[in-house]
């Protein structure tokens, strides 16, 4: 069991600050491993309602493992894990069911009235109104990812989990997807956890950037600047994050390829 002393949130809260809303995600001393190796080791995590969190970490550091737990895909036996029931995931590979037309993929598992209308509205919102009846295998990578976003958003989740959703699309499409995700976040306002290995992407989108290392949150950066941001706006934070990821900062800010290459 975790004791109060374990909490890293010991910073004194001044009494003048209004009480923050109860976190929507709350993990305390959460551990997970496969066989002998511990991938996640006594990790604490809070995410506030509507907060946009980015999770950085080296390949194999346990980002997907953590996300699967938040998604409820793995059993949490006895650990202290609070996640909202209303949540949705976008995976790196879109994972559309190839035997269902696009709108049926979006409607998968949806309850309630007007399922088709809601699915189609979500597809229009992500700019796929013209591919409602397409077979998923005929979509381009970017279109498939947008369909996956629509499938997540149509559920109006309180927690949106994105596991490296833009890693496999080309740079131009990625920039469009960033704008789309921000627009959707602004209009629906779910809490978001975006798993990425791209420091610039994290700084562009998130309120808070976490570095997962050694099974714990090794570093945390708050990004307060107004959106839309430009790559290079947060060069100090970028340097610190890269340092915690064990990479010397690339000399020119904006070289998003540097970190990615170092992980290939």
């Amino acid at each position: 069991m975790a004791t109060l002393l374990d909490f890293p949130h010991g910073q004194p809260l001044t009494t003048a600050v209004p009480r923050p809303p109860a976190p929507i995600v709350r993990l305390r001393s959460f551990s997970r491993g496969f066989g002998e190796t511990r991938v996640i080791d006594r990790l604490d995590l809070d995410i506030a309602p509507g907060e946009f969190v980015a999770l950085l970490g080296r390949s194999g550091s346990g980002k997907t493992t953590l996300l699967r737990t938040l998604a409820g895909l793995d059993d949490v036996d006895g650990d202290e894990v609070d996640v909202p029931a209303s949540r949705a995931v976008v995976f790196q590979d879109a994972r559309l069911l190839p035997w269902k037309r696009v709108w049926k993929n979006v409607a998968l598992g949806l309850q309630g009235p007007d399922v088709r209308a809601r699915a189609e509205a979500a597809l229009h919102e992500v700019g796929l109104g013209h591919r409602l009846d397409a077979w998923p295998l005929t979509l381009s990578g970017g279109e498939a990812q947008r369909a996956a976003l629509a499938r997540a958003l149509v559920r109006e989740p309180k927690l949106l989990l994105l596991d490296e959703p833009f890693a496999a699309v080309d740079a131009l499409t990625r920039m469009k997807m960033h704008a789309l995700v921000l627009a959707l976040w602004t209009s629906h306002h779910p809490a978001v956890m975006l798993v990425t290995h791209d420091v610039d992407e994290a700084l562009l989108l998130a309120d808070r950037v976490l570095v997962l290392d050694g099974g714990r949150i090794a570093h945390e950066e708050r990004v307060a600047s107004e959106r839309p941001r430009r790559i290079g706006d947060e060069s100090d934070a970028r340097t610190r994050l890269l340092h915690h990821l064990g990479v010397a900062a690339a000399p020119s800010a904006g070289d998003t390829g540097a970190l990615r290459r170092s992980h290939v």
């Binding site: 995976f91 590979d93 994972r95 190839p98 035997w99 998968l108 295998l137 499938r151």
Partner: protein, 261 residues
């Protein structure tokens, strides 16, 4: 001048029909000149005449119907059993333990070697024939569908689970559609095995059906009737194959190969 005639002759040379046609012609010539005696192999023209008579007399349609009912009954039972067993084995751990090991052992038996046992059990009527066809086709369906279910992409299962699909929803929306191509492959094998078993089972003992016709014809050395029956067996196989293709075309429309982009 020379050009059109050359292209005509070269297109003739390339035609896939050329050599079969020449073969049939040679066969006809051989039969007419007496090189091939009628009790060895009837002439193609004689076969066509016989086919016509057998069609008109109703002998062939009736026999074909009897044989088709045997295939249909055997397949109906075998395919149903195969699907049920594969679902049991593929979708639950206890089912896998209970079903897979015995089925894998039984499938090593050559089905036709069971016919003496089936005759002892079921007599010499329709039952042993249908049972043999059912038994043989069951394994084809079981093996392919079970493999298909085991090979379902767990990432798709995970994704569907994350969208709140329960066990039944997963089976209906993910596992069965994913295993459908394998089921269709199994069905295809099952059908060809069924026709194969039909041929042998009918010749062991039958008082009606295509096999009965062949047996009678053999006793009277009527090679023309034998050839007609062979043609009908081939047509039966082709018809079944075409039916499966039609089902595949509809059921697997989502596959990129078949999608019209």
């Amino acid at each position: 001048m020379a050009v059109p005639s050359r292209s005509w002759s070269s297109s003739l040379m390339r035609s896939r029909w050329l050599s079969p046609t020449l073969l049939v012609l040679a066969w006809e010539l051989g039969a007419r000149s007496g090189v091939i005696p009628a009790h060895t192999l009837a002439a193609p023209s004689a076969v066509v005449v016989t086919l016509w008579h057998m069609l008109m007399s109703g002998e062939l349609p009736v026999s074909l119907a009897v044989s088709s009912v045997r295939v249909a009954a055997g397949l109906g039972i075998g395919v149903t059993l195969g699907i049920v067993l594969a679902l049991l084995a593929g979708l639950s751990r206890p089912g896998e333990v209970a079903v897979d090991a015995p089925v894998q052992m039984l499938r090593t038996l050559p089905v036709l070697a069971l016919s003496p046992l089936f005759i002892v059990w079921f007599g010499i009527g329709e039952t042993p024939k249908i049972a043999l066809i059912a038994f043989g086709s069951m394994f084809q369906v079981y093996l392919n569908l079970y493999n298909g279910i085991c090979g379902v992409d767990v990432r798709l299962v995970d994704a569907a689970r994350s969208f709140g699909l329960g066990r039944v929803g997963l089976i209906v929306h993910v596992i069965l559609p994913a295993a459908l191509p394998s089921l269709l492959v199994g069905l295809r094998y099952a059908l060809s095995v069924a026709v194969l078993i039909l041929v042998v089972a009918e010749q062991i003992n039958a008082s009606a059906g295509l096999g009965y016709l062949i047996n009678n014809a053999r006793d009277f050395m009527r090679t023309d009737i034998i050839v007609v029956c062979l043609i009908v067996y081939a047509a039966l196989g082709l018809a079944i194959d075409a039916a499966i293709r039609a089902v595949e075309g509809r059921a697997l429309a989502w596959r990129p190969r078949l999608v019209e982009v």
